[in-house]
Symmetry: C2
Subunit: 361 residues, 2 copies
Amino acid sequence: MEVRIPKRTLAEGLSILERIIPSRSSNPILTYLPMELSDQGLILRGTNGEVDIEVKLPAEVQGTGQVLVPAQTFVQIVRSAPGELVELIFGGKERLELHSGAFNTQLATTGPDGYPELSFGPPGPEKIAASRLAQAITRVRYAASTEEFRAIFRGVQIEMSPTSLRAVASDGYRLACYDLPMQLQTRKLVIPARSADEIVRVFKDAQGEVALAVAEGTLTLVGEAVRMSVKLMEGEFPDYGRVIPQSFVLEATLQAEALRESLKRVAVLSDRNNHRVNLLFNHNKLDIDAEGDYGRGREELGIEASGEPQLMVAYNAQFLIDALAPIEGAVRIKLSGPTSPSLVQAVEDSGYLAVVVPLRV
Amino acid sequence: MEVRIPKRTLAEGLSILERIIPSRSSNPILTYLPMELSDQGLILRGTNGEVDIEVKLPAEVQGTGQVLVPAQTFVQIVRSAPGELVELIFGGKERLELHSGAFNTQLATTGPDGYPELSFGPPGPEKIAASRLAQAITRVRYAASTEEFRAIFRGVQIEMSPTSLRAVASDGYRLACYDLPMQLQTRKLVIPARSADEIVRVFKDAQGEVALAVAEGTLTLVGEAVRMSVKLMEGEFPDYGRVIPQSFVLEATLQAEALRESLKRVAVLSDRNNHRVNLLFNHNKLDIDAEGDYGRGREELGIEASGEPQLMVAYNAQFLIDALAPIEGAVRIKLSGPTSPSLVQAVEDSGYLAVVVPLRV
C-alpha cells in the first residue's frame, strides 16, 4: 500500500476535514483520520458526530486498504512537509512512513475496526449549485438564536418548493430569510447552525453542483470530490409569516454601508444593556442618536423617503447592523409603525429580507 | 478650550496609550485618559501602575486646561470618526463635544483631581537610538522566565558600560544576550519583561534618539513626542558569565532558517513532555530526529563542521527554535560537550549570543 500525492492536494483535503475531527473526545477513536486507498484515489473521512465528511483526492495509489492515522499529528506533518510531493508507505496497519524531500517520518497507525461507519446514502436526483446554497445560509445565519430557550431557533431552516429554496433564521426578536429561485421537491428541514457553518465552509468556494438527499433525519450533499452528511434537527419553525409586516406607513432608501458605519459610531455611546439607538425619519433626513453613561452621539444622513413625513423608531443597534451586513448597495427600510416590526430589504438583491422588531419607546 | 486635530494624528497618539490604560481597574480613575491642552499642543497621558506614558501631539489649541475622558469610549469614537479632522470642544470639566464630518458626540468628562501624578523626571544627558534599544530587547525577550521561582529572571537586564549596551534574558535553562556598541555610564538595571514589551511596542519604529535617565528605581525615556517611565525590578541577575562556555569540541555552521524549519517538522513527533530532539553532528551532515507516542521523524541537513567528527546532543526543540528565531542568514553552533551548554551565534550579527543547555541523555 503506497500513495504518491502532491503536498498541496493532500493539505487542501485535510483542511476540509481538520475542523470537524475533534482533537479530544470521550471516544478517542474519533480523533483519528480514516484513510482509504482505492482505485478511485485516496479517500479521507471524518466526523464530529453531527457532520460526516468524505473527501476523495486524486493520487497515485498502489494497493487498497484502510487504516486510521492520528489526525492532528498527521495534519501538522503534512503541512510542514518540505517537498512538493508526499509519499506514504503503509507497513501493514501499524505503521505509516511519510517521505517528503529530506524529511522522513514513521507514524504509528491502527486498523479501521471500531471507527463508526459513515453512511452517506445514495445521492438524490435533485441538484443545486453548492456555492449558492452556502450563500443563502451565510446571509441569514446571523439571526439564529444562541439561547437554550426554543431550541429550534438554534438552527437554520431550509424550505424547498417547486419555485424556490429559502433559508430562514430567527431568534424570536428578528428574522432573516433568503430566497433562491429554484425548482425542488417541497420539504422543510432545520440544520443546526454550527453544522450550517460547516456546509458554508466546505462549499462556499466550490465549483459545480451538489446532489441533495434527505432521509432518516439526515441531509446528504454529494459533490464531485466531497460528500457531506448532516444530522437535522427535529421539528420546524413556528409560522413566522405573521411577523412579516405587509403594510407600511413610511419607506426610506439609503446606502446600506453609510447607515451601517453611522450606526456603529453612534452606538459607541449607547446604553451598554440594550444598545438602543433612536432613528428619527424626518422628510429627506435620518437623524441617528444614542445616549448612555458616557454621553451622547448623533449623526445625520440623507434619505429618499415616502409615506409619513416624520417617524421616530428605536432599535437595538447591533440587530440593525447585523440586518444590514449582507446588503451591498442601497437598503430599503419599511416601517409599519414605531413599535411594530420593520422590514429591511436589499434594493439590488430581491432574495434578501430581514425583520427587526423596534425597542419599546 | 478647543482642539482641532487630524483624526489620524489623534488616533496614532491614542494607539500608543491604549494598551497600557486598563479597561477595568480597582481604581476606576485609571481607566480615564488625562488630556491636557497647552501651548505645546494636545498632551495625552496614561499609566498601568508599572509604565507611565505621555504623548505630545501637534494640534490647533485654544485655551489651556486639563480634563479626564473615559479612555475606551473615546478611543472607539475617534477611530470610527468619519471626517479627516476631529474637533474637540470642552464645556468646562463636565462635557466634551466631538465633531467629525456629520457625526457629533457629547461625552461626559471629569476634572483631573484624584488622577495619580505621572512624573517623568528630567531627561538625562545620555542618548540612544530608540529603535536600537527596542531591537536589543526584542532579540533576547524570548528567554525571560515566566515562572514565579527566581522572580528576577522575569525581567530583561540592561547592562550599560563605556563600550556597550547589553540586553540579557534568562530563565535558568537558557540565556540570550545582545550587545550594541555604545558609550554609556556604567550601570545595570532590570526591566520587567512586560514593561520591556511596552518599550519595544512604543519605540520599535521610532525615528531619532531618546534621552535616558535612571532615578529612584525608575527608567525614564524621553523622545521627541513621547515620554515613558518604567518601574525597575529590584536586584540584578546572578553572575551568568560562568554558564557561557569558553572552549568547544565541535563547531558547525548552517543556515538558521533551514535548521529552524527542520526542527519544527521533526518536533511534531517529539515527546509531548520534554520536546526532545536528537542532533547527531556527523562530519558534514546533521541528522535530526525525534520520537514520541505517535511515531518518529527524521531529517538530514548539510553543515560545515570542525572539531570532533561525531557528536550527539539532545535539546528541547522549542528552546533551540527560540534561540534561532532572531538569526538571519547563517548560524554557528558551538558545542562544549554532549551535556554541557551549547552556544548559538549569528554569523552575520556579532551582537547576538544564546546559550542552550542540552537535555540529559
